[in-house]
């Protein structure tokens, strides 16, 4: 009887399937704290037809499937919790279309943030997409599907809000087009059809494998600038953010709070990036932003931080390679964070909880938040560095993460791209009807339970 490996090799070619210890070892882990879970196979499909054939095979053989982009989610969502096949999607990295007038890009699911950024800069210099704070290898699809956010999220919301449509291989092996592409050759919107894309957003690959997607693009202006507003009373931050977001001038608004360098300790820094077509417009926008926080400036309760040009340049760099270096602050190669989606009015409590947890676990931490929409919500992050070579330190970081997830849920927030234990915490708190509906949807789409099993499961 033909082995599973031989059947996979027939689909993707022998060079692109592995059951070797080296691939099983490496693909069992991501850079976060979650323990390894080995796949039986790793495959690298090249196109949608190959993905569909793999899904059909997995259905026949009842083998779990785990789709993976760059594997940078940090919360272990691409580990094979119940074994099976990891589909590393990054060979499918083509940029298929950029519609300049309608401002969207159609890409394959393995296309990276960095490659789209480079493509747009070269061929469509007037356009850009919203880059997350992930490294450039992170895939566009992965970030959209986990409800990521990025450098245009104040202006345009979650990255899943910027999704125009999907091509997805269903657990049956059928290929579905969702959004305008279902009835039109153009991928311009999800409206006005029933929005089935939601069946695949936030589901951690448990409902299907996305193979193509179209995302919205935005103007890339000639000039850009950044202001950093600094406060030292966290209870003032929600109002400050309300005022700044109310101006609707910025592209991105992020807060950061860190104990190092020492000059930053105890302050809440709010980065406000904005852009314009002319220097005059840029100055006008800067003045509007200053006007928005005028009461704070007049009372000297808070103010703008002077920024020398090199520092300004560093803050405007996208993607910011500085962020990955947080993993090396303990010379330990690791960090993981809880990204909590929560209302902006929870900022003071979220901040204080972060300090408390870091102190309780003696964790090297960094706190921050990205504002989504016009203060509609925020992604408040609690990042903890750990030393990968020190098991006790990894465990300490895990405990800090777990405690943070508990605190976030208690505050009325929801952990984002939640790791397996955090998913269980969320499900325990979830409205039973929603949980029931999720289970019904999964049972209908995936009767054999092959799609990334172990995720979004109570047991």
């Amino acid at each position: 009887m033909e082995s599973i490996k031989a059947k996979l090799a027939k689909i993707v070619g022998p060079d692109y399937v592995s059951d070797q210890p080296e691939e099983r070892y490496l693909y069992a882990m991501d850079p976060g704290t979650m323990p390894p879970r080995k796949p039986d196979f790793v495959v690298l499909p090249e196109n949608t037809a190959q993905v569909a054939a793999i899904v059909r095979l997995a259905n026949m053989e009842k083998i779990p499937l785990v789709p993976m982009g760059a594997g940078l989610v940090l919360s272990g969502l691409t580990r094979a919790l119940k074994g099976g096949i990891i589909l590393d999607m990054k060979r499918m990295n083509r940029i298929l279309e950029v519609n300049e007038i309608s401002r969207y890009a159609l890409v394959e699911a393995g296309a990276s943030q960095g490659m789209l950024q480079a493509h747009l800069k070269k061929h469509h210099p007037g356009l850009k997409h919203s880059m997350p704070d992930a490294p450039p290898m992170a895939t566009l699809a992965g970030n959209v599907l986990i409800h990521g956010s990025g450098h245009l999220s104040h202006a345009a919301g979650f990255h899943s809000d910027m999704l125009n449509g999907l091509e997805v291989v269903l657990p049956s092996g059928e290929i579905a087009s969702l959004g305008s592409c279902a009835v039109s050759p153009a991928w311009f919107a999800r409206a006005p059809l029933p929005d089935l894309a939601g069946l695949f957003l936030g589901w951690a690959g448990t409902t299907g494998i996305v193979t193509k997607l179209a995302i919205k693009l935005y103007p890339r202006y000639k000039y850009e600038d950044i202001l950093i507003f600094v406060a030292d009373k966290p209870e003032t931050v929600p109002d400050i953010l309300y005022r700044i977001t109310g101006a609707q001038i910025a592209e991105d608004i992020t807060a950061w709070m860190t104990p190092k360098p020492l000059w930053a300790k105890g302050f809440q820094h709010i980065n406000i990036t904005f852009a314009a077509d002319s220097k005059e417009e840029l100055i006008w926008k800067r003045n509007l932003l200053r006007a928005a926080v005028k009461p704070y400036l007049e009372s000297k309760e808070a103010g703008f931080m002077p920024l020398p040009p090199p520092m300004k340049h560093r803050f405007l760099q996208v993607p910011a390679s500085d962020l990955a270096r947080f993993a090396d602050i303990k010379k330990g190669g690791g960090f993981e964070y809880v990204g909590a989606i929560m209302p902006v009015d929870r900022f003071p409590r979220a901040y204080q909880e972060g300090l408390n947890i870091a102190e309780r676990f003696q964790a090297a931490y960094s706190l921050g938040a990205r504002i989504i929409g016009v203060n509609h919500c925020m992604m408040f992050f609690y990042a903890y560095a750990f030393n990968r070579a020190d098991a006790a330190d990894v465990e300490r970081a895990q405990q800090a993460l777990e405690a943070t997830n508990t605190a976030v849920l208690a505050m009325g927030g929801i952990p984002w791209k939640a790791e397996e234990p955090a998913q269980k915490q969320i499900l325990a708190k979830m409205n039973p009807q929603m949980l029931g509906l999720m289970n019904q949807v999964r049972a209908m789409l995936d009767p054999n339970g092959i799609m990334n099993p172990g995720n979004w499961e109570v047991n």
Binding site: D15, Y16, S18, Q20, P21, E22, E23, Y25, L26, Y27, M29, P31, V42, L44, A70, G71, L72, D88, K90, R91, S112, Q113, G114, M115, Q117, A118, H119, K121, K122, P135, P136, M137, S321, D322, A324, R325, A327, D328, K331, G332, G333, G334, F335, N387, R388, A389
Partner: protein, 387 residues
């Protein structure tokens, strides 16, 4: 294993896979194989697994470690300033560990064994080393200002010999005083070191240094950037006190003295930065200065150039082992497609390994009618130099 203390510090963020602008994959091994295991970060974690006993020095592990082209793209683009400079050293140490355990891929053994037994990896007699110079004006070294060091690939491959001839002729025309070692030349050992054969490298280096000392050689011009790197950096660490130049550096200083007889037809040229000249030794300007000096030459740059150049896939001994060969994603094939996209008629190189790799790749890609691979010296000589 040396540098084991940095292995766990890799976060696997993946900046190492890219050039500065992220336009495409720039790690040759990852580009070719696409499994995370073949990326620099994957290699870091696998080496850690090997040291912990979680993994064995299997055939797959050997292929993964020896597929590294030592191009240095990862060192250039890693964000971890605390240890990035040690990445290649760690990979080489990993290979050294396998070499010492006798766990080698067969093509690596097939390279190292004849190098040990014959002094070159081609299993050819030493007397053939200088055969390229027969009938030319290149004399054996005898107190000339420079030794022109040719190296294995320049001595024993057709393409390398043609390049040696061309460089030798041009140096002569520009009045450079040089001699060659001919049959006495010994392998520089650069690629043996890159393959983790540190002892063999040191043995070759000592023999070369003894030979240079006994012949009174103080200044060396190398044909290959690999030899340049070994003699300039590796030998210095072993007590060598040589002044080492790549031939493009000498030509760049002298090219203004050359007179070109006639106006030349325009020629569009793109230049490929060899890794051991560029990323390893930060020499990006010499070849460009030469090309800028020539009448009729229009230099166009590939999207990835200077510190962002995509390696030809021949470094780290891969020219000999061919682990990175085959398939449309073989680095040399990707690179010639990138070169052809510039519209250049000539892909100019400054390394005999790159020349061999790209000529083969042009044939496979069916681009021979659109583009030719030429060494910098060949481009100069075709411009009807009169002096």
């Amino acid at each position: 294993m040396e540098h084991a203390e940095i292995l766990h510090r890799c976060f696997r963020c993946g900046y190492c896979k890219f050039p500065d602008n992220y336009v495409d994959l720039n790690c040759p091994a990852y580009l070719k194989f696409r499994f995370e295991t073949y990326s620099p970060g994957g290699r870091m974690w696998l080496l850690r697994g090997l040291l912990k006993g979680d993994l064995q020095p299997s055939a797959r592990m050997q292929e993964i470690l020896f597929s590294c082209a030592t191009c240095g793209n990862c060192v250039n683009h890693c964000t971890m300033t605390g240890f990035k400079d040690l990445l290649l050293e760690a990979f080489t140490a990993g290979k050294e560990m396998l070499v010492q355990a006798g766990k080698l891929p067969p093509p690596v053994r097939d390279y190292l064994t004849p190098l040990l037994e014959h002094g070159n990896p081609f299993k050819l007699p030493a007397k053939k080393r200088g055969a390229w110079a027969a009938g030319t004006a290149a004399d054996l070294y005898s107190n000339q200002e420079y030794l022109l060091y040719i190296g294995d690939v320049g001595s024993y491959t057709d393409r390398g010999r043609a390049m040696a001839l061309s460089v030798s002729e041009l140096l002569g025309r520009l009045g450079v005083s040089f001699g060659i070692l001919g049959a006495r030349e010994i392998s520089d050992g650069n690629d043996a070191r890159a393959m983790g054969e540190k002892d063999l490298f040191e043995e070759l280096a000592r023999r070369n240094l003894d030979l240079f000392r006994s012949a009174g050689i103080q200044k060396v011009i190398t044909l290959s950037p690999h030899g340049f790197h070994a003699l300039k950096n590796g030998y210095a660490a072993l007590g060598g006190e040589l002044q080492v130049f790549h031939y493009t550096q000498i030509l760049a200083k002298r090219i203004n003295k050359a007179a070109f007889t006639t106006p030349e037809p325009p020629l569009k040229v793109c230049y490929h930065d060899p890794c051991y000249l560029g990323r390893h030794n930060q020499e990006y300007n010499a070849a460009r200065k030469i090309l800028f000096s020539l009448p009729g030459i229009q230099l166009v740059e590939m999207e990835r150039h200077r510190q962002n150049a995509l390696c030809c896939g021949g470094g780290g001994g891969n020219f000999f082992t061919d682990i990175l060969g085959g398939g449309a994603d073989a680095p040399a094939r990707v690179r010639v497609r990138e070169a052809a996209a510039t519209g250049a008629q000539v892909l100019a190189v400054a390394c005999p390994i790159c020349a061999n790799m790209f000529e083969d790749a042009l044939k496979v890609e069916g681009l021979e009618d659109r583009m030719h691979v030429k060494d910098i010296s060949e481009v100069v000589l075709e411009r009807k130099i009169s002096s």
